[in-house]
Structures are given as C-alpha cells and as structure tokens.
Amino acid sequence: MAGSRDSDDVLQPAAGGGLLHRRALLSQGLILATATAAAPAFAGEPAVSQSADPLDPHPASLTTPGAPFSPYGQPSQHERRIMRAVGSNADVPGNGVSWTPLEALEGIITPSGLHFERHHNGVPAIDPRQHRLMIHGLVRQPLTFSLEALQRYPMQSRLLFLECGGNSNAGWHAEPIQRPVGSFHGLVSCSEWSGVPLAMLLDEAGVDPQAQWAVVEGADAGALNVSVPLAKLREDCLVALYQNGERLRPEQGYPMRLIVPGWEGILNVKWLRRLHLTAEPAMSRDETAKYTELQPDGTARQFTYVMEAKSVITSPSAMQRLKDKGFYEIKGLAWSGRGRVARVEVSADGGKSWTDAQLQDPVLPRCFTRFRAAWNWSGEPAILKSRATDETGYVQPERETLVAERGRRGYFHYNAIVAWAVADDGTVSHVYA
C-alpha cells in the first residue's frame, strides 16, 4: 500500500541513533516484513531442526494424523525453555521468588503459569471446601464466607498489573546487573482478575466508623499479615477467585486472594483468610522490617503503596544479540499504579534525543501498556532507553535522579529508566547511562 513517497517520509529519523517516525510501524508492507525477518536474529529463539527442509512441499504434519485432544492444553514442547527463573533460600526452598520471563512474551497478558511468584514459606495446599474468609474486628457482625458463598456474589473483572515492591531491586546495585530483562524486572505480571468487590462484603459485616485499616492475613505457613488502609479496600479492591478466566493457580492464592489495584504486591495477600478491621495498623514485620525503604538520612519511608510509573524495553534487551544492522522493532512494557500510561518515549542515543513510541490499545488504568517504536540500527554502538509518563503527569525518573533522592539502600520501589547498550557486534548489555 505504501507508495515510495510515503515510505521515504516514514523513514525520516524521529530522533538520534536511528529511531524512526512512529508511522514506520503503520506502513506494514515495508516495516513489518523486515521486523519479522529480523526476529530470529535474537539469541534464544527455538532452534530449527537441522534435518528438515523448510521448503519440503509435503512436511509430515500434512500427511500424518495429529495428536488427539488434550483436556488441558500446554505450550508447545519447542517453548519449554520459556520458564520462570527461580531464586530461593538454600534452607527453605519455599522462600524466595520466581521471575516472569518478560523477554519471551508479547502483548500485555502474562500467562498464568508464568506470573511471577513471591512466597515467604511455600505454596499451601488448601481444600477449597474447608477454606473460609473471616471478616471481624470493628464490624457490627463478624462473618465467614465460604468459596461457595462468594461464587454467588456479583463479580467484576479487571485487567491489572501486579508488581512486587522489591521488583528491579538490582537497579540499586553499584554495578549494572547482567541478566535477561525478566530476571531483573520480572517481579511484575499482568492478568485479568475476577472476583467479588470487597466493599460488598464489608458492608454486609457492617464496618464501624472508627475502622481505618484492615489487617489482612493469608493461610500460608506463617500466616503472612499486612495492614491495608480501609479507604483503598472500599475503593477498588477485589476478593479474586479467577485469574485469566480460570480459578486462581495455587501459587497465586487459590482459592482466593486480595487484589489491591496499582499497589505493591505484598498487599495483594494470597490464600486470603482473615480481614481484621481496626483503627490502627498492626505494624507487622512486612510493613516495618521489610517493605520500608531506608533513606540516606537514616529514616525509612513506610506505607509506600503506589507502584509509580515505570517502563522497560523488553526487546532488544540485555543478554540478547542483534545479528545484523537494519530494522528492529523496539518494544516494551509500561505501567503506572496511579492510572493510565499517557506516553512512552524512547531514545537510541542514551537520552540525548527522544521520540514517542506507539502505545498499543488497549491502554487501561493500572495495567500493562505495550509500546513499540521503529529503529534502524546502523551497526554503531547505541544506548536504548524508554521513559514513561502517566496520566497524572508523573515522569519516570533517570537512575541518577532516583539515587540522588533515595540513596541506594531502599531496596524497594526502584522505577528508574533502564538503559540497554548495543555494542557494535550486536550484543546487548545493561548499563547505567
């Protein structure tokens, strides 16, 4: 469709380092073909079987009956390497994290089996028939809810990102960590969560006007507990029973978990068992000793709930390799705990010049937004960056700015701009630039 004059036009640079005008992505005949051809250039793609001839007019799949139906579908065996990376304690295998392999995924939905995990003492085995959610404390009538009862309430579904407060914490390190983007920034995932608005259950119990908080507890080993402001619980929190259309996975809180849109992961208590309405927070271990951020002046930020706007380029990204110069789609994810992503800019010259990336629909509040930009790599060293702005006007900070403000001991809430350096041999690494 694109005539030669159009293509000349879209190939005009939009910023330094080979970033092209956004329209380059829309000119399908031209760009998408090259982007597809360029894709296998990244290391880590599934190997093509050496013996088969890709041009064989009669491949076995055309002439052999296929496999029978499967009661529950699984990814292709060629994709078996696409897995969560696990990091856990030597003495307590259920204490640690697993990261979403962001570098291997497209779109905005994280497959449930690849959603990141943070468990403090393993994944409990819970019989849904025996499980109860108790609401008590400053209420007119303490109540318990069975799963069966919750099933009957009107539900809501929402597409939301969920991010651990400790995501990207390697960004505080003195030296840039060299890991695939998922094993650095992958304590964030995005799902459709469906469940019962908590406000409805609170109303049924009759919350006393003195209540300001709920101490929320899980049914895991150690009964993880954390205090959540009541106003937020009423505003938009869900008792989620479903993730991406099916019942929660055990490692995501089966049979029920709290969903606290846009706020740090620890509050989204899995295996939800108890809400204790109170006037004051409990000052539990995970809201004092942990999930607080030590600042250079020796004080610590506490109750830092909102996950501020952040973006990261997922391709090209660290540990990948570009085989040839030429066209690439720069793509990544952006999100903000305050609402919608308004804008993502990308730079290919380390932040000297920027151009707007294309935001792919849908752009939803507190949800992953996929962004894309067209890039013509000259073969010279380049530094790729992305910068998110959310609808409140908040702009993702440069690392230098964040570190100047917060020091490097805060551990949690690292949301600085990420820089990937492309060397002249096409290798991509993480740099502070």
Partner: protein, 172 residues
C-alpha cells in the same frame, strides 16, 4: 412491556447501588470464641498479646535448638538473615537493618516469631517460648537485660532504638 419500561427495569436490576442496598447476606455469623481463636493480631500498644512470658536466659536454649541452624549462632546470620547488629548507624552505607537497629516495635518480634518461625515448623512455639526467644533476641541487640521478663505488659514498653525512624508516605 414497552422498550422504555424494559430499559428501566433492567436499570433497577443492574444498578450497583441495588447490591449495596440489598446485600446478599451469604456471610455466616461467627461465634465470639471462634473469632477469638482465629484472632492472633498483635498491636504495638500490646493489644492482642497473650498471657505468658519468658526471659532472655530461657530464650537462649530455644534459639540454639530451633533458630541458630538458619540464623547462625547469636543471630549473626547464615542462610537466613542476621537478627543482631546496632554498631553501624543507619546513615552509613554499610549499615545492617536488624531488630536492634531498625525494627520500630518489639511487639512485632513476638508476633512474627510466633506466626512464622521457625520456618521449618511455623506456629510450633508455645506462647512462653515465643516470649523467651523474643527476649533473647532483644537482649542480643542490647535492648533489654538478660533477666527481664517479656510479657503482655512489658513488651509494648520496650523502647526500640529506631522507634521514630519511619515516615508514612501513602497512608497516615
């Protein structure tokens, strides 16, 4: 039914306020004794702390038997984090955020130990054991004396060195 009436009828059924005004009431009332048995929340002012108590002297043996394999002798850290340390100020880049240097409330130590530790057998400590081992960790951090009894009255009164070190950001 006219189209307009139908729309009105649907609006009444679907309005979210209809839910609020007429809750389903499928929650089951719970007797007070069941609530009490489930309610393990402990507050900084001591509310929720159970009857019982223990000293650092009693806690030492419990710690050596049930905690040191992961947290190291005298809380110095091993596969699990260190539980002791106050020498390096929090403003120093090499500081350690420990019970003594960082934790604002002693009640949190009792609560967390009772619910989550030892990690290979959470919830297995008796109330007295949890008080005693908390007393021992507080004593190792130089916050209480070896003979001090930690219980529902004394624990909330322990002055933690970093009590005022926190600034609330997104909630008051």
């Amino acid at each position: 039914m006219s189209m307009r009436r139908l729309v009105l009828a649907l609006a009444v059924v679907l309005a979210p306020s209809a839910y609020a005004a007429d809750p389903l009431r499928l929650g089951k009332p719970v007797p007070a004794d069941v609530v009490a048995a489930w309610d393990t929340t402990v507050f900084p002012d001591g509310r929720g702390l159970p009857q019982g108590g223990g000293t650092a002297e009693q806690g030492r043996a419990i710690y050596d038997a049930k905690c040191s394999n992961c947290h190291g002798p005298e809380g110095r850290g091993e596969t699990a984090e260190e539980l002791v340390g106050r020498e390096i100020p929090l403003t120093d880049p090499d500081t350690a955020q420990t019970i003594g240097s960082f934790w604002p409330y002693a009640t949190t130590l009792f609560d967390y130990t009772r619910r989550a530790m030892p990690m290979d057998k959470p919830g297995s400590l008796s109330v007295d054991e949890a008080y005693a081992v908390a007393a021992y960790l507080l004593q190792l951090n130089g916050v209480v004396a070896p003979g001090d009894v930690m219980n529902a009255q004394s624990l909330p009164k322990v002055q933690m060195p970093n009590r005022d070190g926190f600034k609330r950001i997104d909630a008051k």
